[in-house]
Subunit: 178 residues, 2 copies
DNA sequence: GGAACAGTTCAATCAATAATGAATAAATCT
DNA sequence: AGATTTATTCATTATTGATTGAACTGTTCC
């Protein structure tokens, strides 16, 4: 069965938890929208969005219930967010459930996200580039020249891109963020 | 029926076109890999990749045949690439088919891509942010304060991000790209 | 110990996205 | 005009990716 995109704002939570208020709904939508642009699954964005607007850390079953997620999605999404450093556990006295809060520093978030995304790409791109060059050398005549020129271009693209990342990070952290 | 990921390097092209050589195969793989990171369909990456390594402009049926794509995918992918400015038509004498070549300037490519991706996001994010603030004002007590603080934070994130884009563009174009 | 709770894993299911190809249009040739 | 070539559109099909939930693990409480 397909779960509801977002539970209705009105109506008492049939999960036993308070339904989302309009601020929560809109904030979550904002993050879901962003997640599309970044190619991230909506459930993850929903979890982060709700933790982000929440004035206090939430236990897993609470955001699961309020977002109408399955236990599996919640668990996986939470893990992903923790690995990314976007969410951190917070102990709450007299409650054995784990509670979580959003890490809300743009620099951290964006930095880690970029690192994760970009790193996974540059992972074997270097290796592949070398292979392209090796193969290009085996060609003959003008084909060979063109192939080598293209390979060189790719190398320079890679270098340029790699150089930009730290700068972006610095800008994200340094901008008068107040 | 599923098409082959990439036609085998050896073996005469059963489409009547030359099979891909190793340089072409590896270059295409590189772009396909990148397209995953960027959330773009592989067929588009294949087309761009082949045009990128090709020493001469290719007509649609040629890259369609060599990549083993359907006519539909080729046509749509080509259109997407043209809209993005990543590929441009080139007239070839005594051939009535349209020929295309890759636009291979990192600055153009990345710039247009970012614009397309990011712009579509910031499209209505401003509107949504205003709505969040409006709704937050209707809340009471500490909840209200927290919600307003979060909304303010989102606004600053947006401002920061918007400010960075032009800088990234400048860096992509300006780096000693040789 | 064992019942209730909190959480994870993963194979099966469902939804979203990409690719296909038949129908069609438009242009060029004879 | 009619035949041929080139290319586009879009409903259908295939593929990928996200979500579910039942089975399981480990804790805590009585």
């Amino acid at each position: 069965m397909k779960r509801n995109a977002l539970p209705p704002v009105t109506g008492s939570g049939r999960s036993g938890f308070a339904p989302l208020n309009p601020v929560e709904v809109e904030t979550i939508r904002l993050f879901v929208q962003l997640s599309r642009a970044l190619g991230q699954p909506p459930s993850v964005a929903e979890i982060y969005g709700l933790l982000f607007v929440s004035p206090r850390p939430l236990p897993q079953d609470e955001f699961t219930g309020r977002l109408n997620l399955s236990k599996g999605s919640a668990s996986q999404g939470l893990r992903y967010l923790q690995d990314l450093g976007a969410v951190r556990p917070v102990a709450v006295a007299a409650d054995r459930r784990g509670h979580y809060e959003a890490v809300a520093e743009l620099r951290n978030l964006a930095g880690r996200f970029l690192r994760q995304q970009v790193f996974s790409y540059f992972q074997d791109s270097g290796e592949r580039l070398d292979k392209i060059i090796t193969e290009a050398r085996k060609l003959a005549g003008p084909e060979r020249d063109h192939a080598l020129a293209r390979a060189k271009m790719l190398k320079s693209w890679e270098k340029n891109s790699k150089r930009i990342l730290p700068l972006v990070m610095a800008l994200l952290g340094g901008g008068r963020g107040k």
